[in-house]
């Protein structure tokens, strides 16, 4: 589904974050991108989202090089992604409203988009229907992320990109949302790419894990983690071993 080919990217007046980097993601896979601060993992996500563009090489999704954000890709950020002046319901409707605003032009909205702003089933599924009329400032961090997930899933994406979405949440809320995200990704048949600096999160969320190190990243370091996504994986020895393995691999990078 995603092909990163000979990607080189550098911010102006800075050394490259990626140099001649190649990577591939198949449809329906759940990936975690793990690395320390400054390794380029958020940059990689923004490249996949079509929000920044390679200096050379290309990022292809479904065979098409990205030249702008793709209507079928959903992006969820750590925080600040919700409109503070809109209620939970209005925030959840935002993607649909934007698509209705442009109409099915194939650029901002898929060509088969049917104008609608119905998000109630998503509010119910995410357990935030009772908060529909609250503003983001009135709800907890976990509830805000549930709203962001509802907003993203309401536009029926096939690719879900998440940038440290749960890092500011307390442990029980974080674990609950990790499980919910995996369930939803499986239900909707989504390709999931989550960027994180937390080893435990990468081990839980990523069936495949891409390790990034000190830039420039040239070769992808990939670790398979087949247990991720299975019930109670968090309680297994395999999970603990994976965490240990990831820690030692990160330290070696």
């Amino acid at each position: 589904m995603i092909h990163v080919r000979s990607l080189t990217f550098a911010y102006p007046n800075n050394p490259p974050v990626f140099r001649d980097f190649n990577w591939q993601v198949e449809r329906g896979e759940a990936w975690a991108v793990l690395g320390p601060s400054g390794c380029g993992k958020t940059t990689l996500l923004y490249l996949l989202a079509g929000l920044v563009f390679p200096s050379s090489g290309c990022v292809q999704v479904d065979g098409q090089p990205l030249t702008r954000p793709r209507p079928q890709s959903g992006l969820i950020l750590q925080e600040y992604g919700l409109l503070p002046w809109a209620t939970v319901r209005q925030n959840a409707e935002l993607g649909l409203r934007i698509r209705t605003f442009y109409g099915p032009d194939g650029k901002h909205a898929p060509e088969d988009f049917q104008p609608t702003v119905t998000v109630d089933p998503w509010l119910v599924r995410l357990g935030i229907d009772w908060l529909a009329d609250k503003y983001p400032g009135q709800i907890s961090g976990g509830q805000r992320q549930r709203t962001a997930i509802a907003r993203t899933l309401a536009v029926k994406p096939d690719l879900l990109l998440m940038d440290e979405p749960f890092s500011s949440l307390d442990a029980p809320t974080r674990e609950g949302l990790q499980t919910l995200t995996l369930e939803l990704a499986a239900e909707q048949g989504l390709t999931l790419i989550i960027v994180t600096h937390a080893i435990e999160e990468a081990a839980i969320m990523g069936r495949r894990i891409l390790l990034l190190g000190t830039p420039p990243n040239t070769e992808p370091t990939i670790i398979d983690n087949p247990g991720a996504g299975q019930p109670d994986y968090r309680e297994t020895v395999g999970y603990l071993e994976m965490c240990r393995n990831l820690r030692s691999r990160l330290e070696a990078l």
Binding site: L51, G74, L161
Partner: protein, 246 residues
């Protein structure tokens, strides 16, 4: 702020005024009761017309200022390169007290409402421009990126992000400028007009020496300012409910 607290404050101010007028005991400071009587009489004798003339000038200035300054502020807030060009000019012009331009504006625009509206417009324009620009520029890139990722281009960003984000800045600018606008309105209405509360106050205070009527004009001008202030408050509750809720 509760209505009860406002009423109580008004009562205290009236009592202080009454005490001051008794202590001074001169025609130049009549009691509030006397002014109230004259105020009611004057309402039927042209005060309403003066009030409406002033109200029109302020409202027209506000409307024009919002119409021109809010989009300009949004554009400068969105575009770093344009802001780099215009910021030095705004930096130099913003602190210039616009009231000193009254004679110049009168010379250029002559008599009638236009110069008076223009001078208040200038004050409001810069206030709204600067606040809206700063508000638009302060929008977190994460917010813009997440909305862009939902398919928003420039037009949708404007409609769904910049426009609602600028509303509080416009209302704050209006609230901050009401006092100055009314003060400048007074100065502007001293020249080349026979309508408006500024003219009415000056005529009664300096020419007719009818002090109760002059105070009735002062009260009317204060009510104009208060009414606008309450109006902005009401708009804020209606248009930016999230600010009240959080």
């Amino acid at each position: 702020m509760s209505r009860r607290a406002i009423l109580l404050a008004a009562l205290v101010l009236l009592v202080l005024w009454q005490v001051a007028s008794m202590l001074v005991n001169k025609a130049i400071l009549p009691s509030p009761l006397k002014v109230a009587q004259v105020f009611i009489t004057e309402l039927n004798d042209g005060l309403v017309t003066h009030f409406l003339a002033s109200l029109w000038r302020v409202l027209a200035s506000m409307g024009l200022a919002i119409l021109f300054a809010a989009p300009a502020g949004l554009i400068l807030g969105q575009s770093k390169s344009l802001d780099n060009v215009f910021s030095p000019m705004i930096y130099l012009l913003y602190p210039v007290p616009k009231v000193v331009l009254v004679p110049v504006v009168l010379l250029f625009l002559g008599i009638g409402d236009l110069p008076k509206i223009t001078i208040i417009f200038l004050i409001l324009f810069f206030q709204i421009l600067v606040l809206v620009r700063d508000q638009a520029a302060a929008l977190r890139p994460e917010l813009l990126q997440s909305v862009c990722s939902l398919g928003a281009g420039r037009r949708a960003l404007f409609r769904f992000v910049y426009l609602p984000a600028s509303l509080p800045a416009v209302l704050t600018a209006l609230r901050q400028s009401i006092g100055t606008s009314i003060a400048v309105l007074y100065v502007a209405e001293l020249f080349a007009t026979q309508k408006g509360l500024g003219y009415y106050i000056y005529l009664n205070g300096s020419t007719l020496l009818n002090y109760p009527a002059m105070y009735a004009g002062v009260v009317a001008m204060s009510l104009l300012g208060l009414g606008l202030y309450f109006g902005v408050d009401w708009l804020e509750r209606r248009l930016t409910p999230w600010q009240m809720a959080t």
